[in-house]
């Protein structure tokens, strides 16, 4: 059993303070998960808070059959769906262009390397924005949130083999978009 699972089981038994290390471990990733689903920064912060409130409220539903990470992302996903239903009309989705530059420190100190990194991130974000929400979610859950195939499959309600096919198809479509984007930028093509 992972350390996260053990912490969550302690939360289940009433040691609520054990939720704090879990929050610290996941707050940035969950915040980015909501941002990547198109929510504004303030809405994403609210959604992270709401997710942890639900984790506390529904702590009895956590079982040892899955990982804590997959369970947490399941709660986060449902929170996002609920939020979408409630605020269909009013929620202001933030465009990818409007997002703040990353504050994650990179090892590249030199300007050229930074520019190259920014360019790569930009292309990746643009490609993701052009594929379907379902495709980008599969890719992001694996690439950014580092969920295992089994966890993503459980989250999306499919089996692992179906997920593998979906992942491959999603990456294929992402590649197509990438080629389209690079061809647009290349005047010789």
């Amino acid at each position: 059993m992972t350390e996260e699972c053990q912490l969550m089981l302690l939360v289940q038994q009433g040691q609520l303070d054990k939720l704090a290390p879990l929050f610290e471990a996941y707050k940035v990733r969950l915040f980015n998960y909501f941002l990547q689903r198109g929510h504004s920064r303030s809405a994403s912060e609210d959604l992270v808070q709401e997710t942890f409130t639900k984790v506390l409220a529904y702590r009895d539903s956590f079982g040892a059959q899955g990982t804590f990470r997959s369970w947490l992302y399941g709660v986060a996903r449902n929170t996002a769906v609920d939020h979408y239903r409630k605020h269909k009309q009013s929620d202001q989705h933030e465009s990818l262009d409007a997002q703040q530059p990353s504050t994650e420190s990179g090892e590249g100190n030199d300007l050229t390397e930074k520019l190259h990194k920014a360019q790569q991130q930009d292309i990746f974000q643009r490609c993701l924005a052009q594929i379907s929400v379902q495709d980008s979610e599969i890719i992001l859950l694996s690439r950014v949130h580092q969920l295992k195939y089994e966890d993503i499959a459980m989250l999306l309600g499919c089996n692992v083999n179906t997920l593998k096919s979906k992942m491959q198809a999603a990456l294929n479509r992402l590649h197509q978009k990438y080629q389209d984007l690079t061809n647009e930028g290349d005047p010789s093509s």
Partner: protein, 277 residues
């Protein structure tokens, strides 16, 4: 290894999953196929650390979370057995079952059952015994029991929070002894304070079926304190048709009061005009 298997293996490798390593035949295929080579290069680029950057949330998030955690902890300290959403869902089902069972034992159902038993017993005694003095006494005793049962039921139902149950209580008063002190007090109190106009009107209707001589003064006071003009007029009608001459006189005097609702004043004045002709 075909193209599909090569890509599957590469993706699994990048995702940190178990994968079948690409064999020499697969390597040869990649070398011969520039498109496949490009696709693998794209996958590697996607999984390059540079492609992903995580944004940091503001300090408000920490503030909100720790505030929520502190309040949850203090709630837990105050109520150690505080249920979670999951366990309360289970307890809700149990509560629902109990409330259904409880519904079978409402005063109304008990009264219906008791009335049925009494009527059955009445029939049994009437059929089985001679119509002599003894059976007549038994019959009177049973009638009294029915009446006291109805009085008890009416008292119980008039105190229910639900207006429809209070209405049922008023219906029971028609079969009950209205001279029962507790019941008559409760009826007057309900007439004064009930928020539901239908309940008040039903009480006036129930009173009209009985002698009201002992309630006349109280009813006159209620007319003046009442806000609903419909209830005021119905009460006035009751007093005018069944009240003593002194009460009727006092009622007609009310028509002179300036603060009285114009509709009621008009009604009283109309009555006065009819009476004088």
């Amino acid at each position: 290894m075909n193209k599909q298997q090569i890509l599957e293996s590469k993706i699994a490798q990048l995702c940190g999953e178990q994968y079948v390593p690409i064999d020499s035949a697969g390597e040869a295929l990649i070398e011969q196929n520039p498109e496949l080579k490009q696709e693998i290069a794209f996958l590697e680029a996607i999984w390059h650390p540079n492609t992903v950057s995580l944004q940091q949330p503001s300090a408000d998030l920490d503030l909100g979370f720790y505030k929520m955690l502190a309040s949850a902890q203090s709630a837990q300290a105050r109520y150690p057995s505080i249920p979670t959403a999951e366990s309360s869902a289970v307890s809700t089902k149990v509560d629902l079952l109990f409330s259904r069972i409880k519904r079978w034992f409402t005063p109304q159902h008990i009264a219906q059952f008791a009335s049925l038993v009494v009527v059955f017993m009445l029939g049994f005694y009437l059929n089985s015994s001679e119509s002599d003095r003894a059976s007549s006494l038994q019959l009177d005793a049973l009638n009294e029991q029915v009446s006291s049962l109805n009085t008890m039921m009416a008292i119980s139902l008039l105190q229910q929070p639900n207006a429809s149950e209070r209405l049922a209580g008023v219906a029971f008063t028609q079969k009950a002894n209205l001279h029962h002190q507790e019941l008559s007090n409760l009826m007057l109190q309900t007439l004064r304070n009930d928020s539901a106009t239908p309940v008040k009107l039903a009480i006036i209707n129930a009173l009209s079926a009985n002698a009201i001589d002992s309630f006349e003064l109280a009813l006159l006071e209620i007319i003046q304190a009442e806000n609903n003009v419909l209830v005021q007029i119905e009460l006035s009608r009751l007093l005018y048709s069944q009240g003593s001459p002194s009460t009727i006189q006092a009622l007609l005097e009310l028509g002179k009061q300036e603060q009285l609702h114009p509709d009621l004043r008009q009604w009283i004045n109309d009555i006065k005009a009819t009476a004088s002709t």
